[in-house]
């Protein structure tokens, strides 16, 4: 309880009367301080009684519409005050004191005048972290205006701001998360080496020097011991950083998820100490390859380079979009490939006029492939494999926008000596429309899955989907998905 200026003026009045009583020797003037004290005590006791009632009843309730949100997002803090009886007579003023990390977008002080009042204040989260909004402060003034008091009422609320970055990365196929995609790679070479391997029975033709005499003596038959050859696998990670990869919310675009996948691959490769190179593919065909190498410094340089991969937050229209809105890749693009073109040309060897007219366009079967050389990803990968023939594992991280280019790139790159893994980000998971139309989104997703399976069917190639786990889960929980699973 704090005295107000009015209280002090009353106190000065009482003291002055006491002084005058002494000066004029007038004891009756001492009635002034006594009477004013009685009056003040009445106010004080009434006020105290009201404050005690408020403390017991706790008529303030604080609630948040969302307690977990991304940085720069806004949540609504609602403070409901039951102002029946007690608060109404106190000229109460409500003050909200959010922590510095939360910015109130409206005033934080309100006079409570109605019998029941609710105040809503939008709070913007400025930085990541968990913040506690303290109890609201109710500043009350006694009815006579002699005293003021501030009570902390209501409940505390916690809000968690999460950074705008990819979270809960999903990597899998057909909606199924892969628990452990890769372990230590199998050298697929047995024979002489350094690491002891399996025992097997002696076969005619095996050199006698490889007989394991101890095992032979123990088991009664001649046995030879295999040794595992130690190898390193030269790995190249190609990250598509073209315009269409900027699709998605700020901090959670395709490129952000591609970066997460690439960093994950870097960690994996570093754990095996395999030589690793990273190539970025951009719109202007400029590729910036990092020659494969191993070593802590090299891996750290790659990590830094991936972290520095700039993303433009401006949504970029999808080149396949009819209305300028980013959308899933065109289905018709995925229907043709160089092999498709050759097959169509073969089918056109008829006598009818239609076939003869079209056959002229298919005379040069390689024209289709030549067109693809203008595509940055295809060009980069083929050039990369030409420059670095020792690459045994090629990883491409991209989306499904340029499907024909991707298909041909995988076909061109996969070989007996080079295994190709594609991590594909389905455009439907990053659409500006979100998953509002779940049915249409699921159709796009199944179309993507068909495309992924088509790539996975290429010999020496594997294809995975990558993206936000919650979006994949939402799609797989859709009624349409449930229906298909039945």
């Amino acid at each position: 309880m704090r005295p107000t200026r009015r209280f002090w003026s009353v106190a000065v009045l009482a003291s002055s009367a006491a002084v005058l009583a002494i000066l004029f020797d007038a004891p009756l003037l001492l009635g002034v301080p006594l009477g004013l004290t009685a009056w003040t005590l009445s106010h004080q006791l009434t006020f105290t009684s009201t404050l005690a009632t408020l403390t017991d009843r706790n008529p303030v309730t604080q609630t948040l519409t969302r307690d977990r949100l991304l940085v720069d997002d806004t949540t609504l803090l609602t403070i409901a005050v039951d102002t029946t009886q007690d608060v109404a007579v106190l000229n109460a003023r409500l003050t909200i004191t959010p922590p510095p990390a939360l910015t109130a977008e409206q005033p934080t002080t309100y006079d409570l005048t109605d019998s029941s009042e609710s105040v809503s204040v939008p709070l913007r989260v400025g930085v990541a972290g968990t913040f506690t909004i303290p109890r609201a402060e109710l500043e009350c003034t006694s009815r006579g205006g002699l005293f003021q008091a501030t009570l902390s009422l209501g409940n505390e609320c916690s809000v968690t701001g999460e950074p705008r970055a990819p979270r809960e990365l999903h990597i899998g196929s057909g909606g199924e998360q892969i628990a452990a995609a890769y372990g230590e790679h199998d050298a697929e070479q047995r024979g002489a080496g350094f690491e002891p391997g399996e025992l097997r029975e002696y076969q005619p033709g095996d050199p006698t020097s490889r007989i394991d005499w101890k095992a032979t003596a123990r088991l009664g038959d001649p046995y030879v011991r295999e040794f595992t050859a130690e190898t390193t696998r030269q790995t190249q990670v190609v990250v598509d950083a073209r315009t269409q990869m900027r699709q998605g919310p700020p901090g959670e675009s395709k490129l952000d998820y591609a970066r997460e996948v690439a960093i994950w691959l870097t960690e994996y490769t570093a754990s095996l100490d395999d030589p690793l190179g990273v190539t970025l593919v951009t719109d202007d065909h400029i590729t910036t390859p990092a020659p494969p190498a191993a070593g802590t410094t090299h891996y750290e340089r790659i990590r830094r380079r991936l972290h520095d991969l700039a993303t433009d937050t401006t949504p970029t229209p999808d080149p396949h979009s009819q209305d300028g809105m980013p959308q899933a890749a065109s289905k018709t693009d995925a229907l043709r490939s160089s092999q498709d073109a050759q097959r169509i040309a073969a089918d056109l060897r008829g006598d009818d006029a239609y076939a003869q007219t079209l056959a002229a366009y298919f005379e040069d079967r390689n024209a289709y492939v030549e067109q693809l050389t203008d595509q940055p990803l295809f060009e980069s990968v083929t050039q990369l494999l030409g420059d670095q023939p020792g690459t045994s594992w090629l990883v491409i991280v991209t989306d499904d926008t340029h499907r024909d280019e991707l298909l041909e790139t995988a076909r061109a790159a996969a070989s007996q000596t080079t295994h190709v893994s594609l991590f594909l980000l389905p455009s439907v998971l990053f659409s500006d429309r979100g998953l509002a139309d779940l049915e249409a989104a699921y159709d796009d997703y199944t179309d993507f899955e068909a495309f992924r399976q088509r790539i996975a069917a290429i010999p020496n190639a594997t294809a995975f989907e990558a993206g936000p786990r919650d979006a994949v889960a939402t799609l797989l929980d859709s009624p349409q998905s449930m229906e298909e699973h039945r």
Partner: protein, 154 residues
């Protein structure tokens, strides 16, 4: 800053108390008493009740001495009633009886001391008032859970 001072709200009981106090002042001091009563009435209309009480009490001190007489007792009771009927005080029996009973006891002490030393009486009235106000302040901290738990530290 104080908002919406409700202490200027007036009631019929307050007006009646003021009328009785003015009449008693007239009996005790004639026209001078009425003059103090008129000034107290103006103060009662525009200022908190405590100021009207102060002017009325000053009028009593101006027109009479501390000699127990029926008009003086009536005037004192009427001026106290002016405070009690202040509309800004909730008519709560506890909020009324405790302070006025306590002040009555303190007033008796002041009266007793005043016969020997006016300075002592003045000091007693001020020190007693301050002690009472501070006591209620501590009581308020206790009832609203604002007192630090000193027992926990021991």
């Amino acid at each position: 800053m104080i908002r919406h001072p409700r202490s200027t709200r007036r009631g019929v009981l307050g007006a009646a108390a003021l009328f009785i106090a003015t009449a008693a002042l007239f009996v005790l001091g004639g026209l001078n008493g009425v003059l103090f009563g008129a000034v107290a009435a103006v103060a009662w209309l525009v200022l908190p009740a405590g100021f009207a009480f102060t002017i009325g009490q000053a009028g009593l001190a101006a027109v009479t001495t501390l000699t127990i007489s029926p008009p003086l007792i009536i005037a004192e009771l009427a001026l106290l009633a002016l405070l009690v009927t202040d509309a800004s005080i909730r008519l709560d029996l506890r909020a009324m009886t405790i302070p006025f009973f306590t002040i009555a006891v303190l007033g008796l002490g002041v009266y007793a001391v005043a016969g020997q030393s006016i300075i002592g009486a003045a000091a007693l009235s001020l020190a007693g008032s301050a002690a009472l106000v501070y006591t209620v302040h501590r009581y308020e901290l206790l009832t609203t859970n604002q007192l630090p738990m000193e027992a926990d530290n021991e």
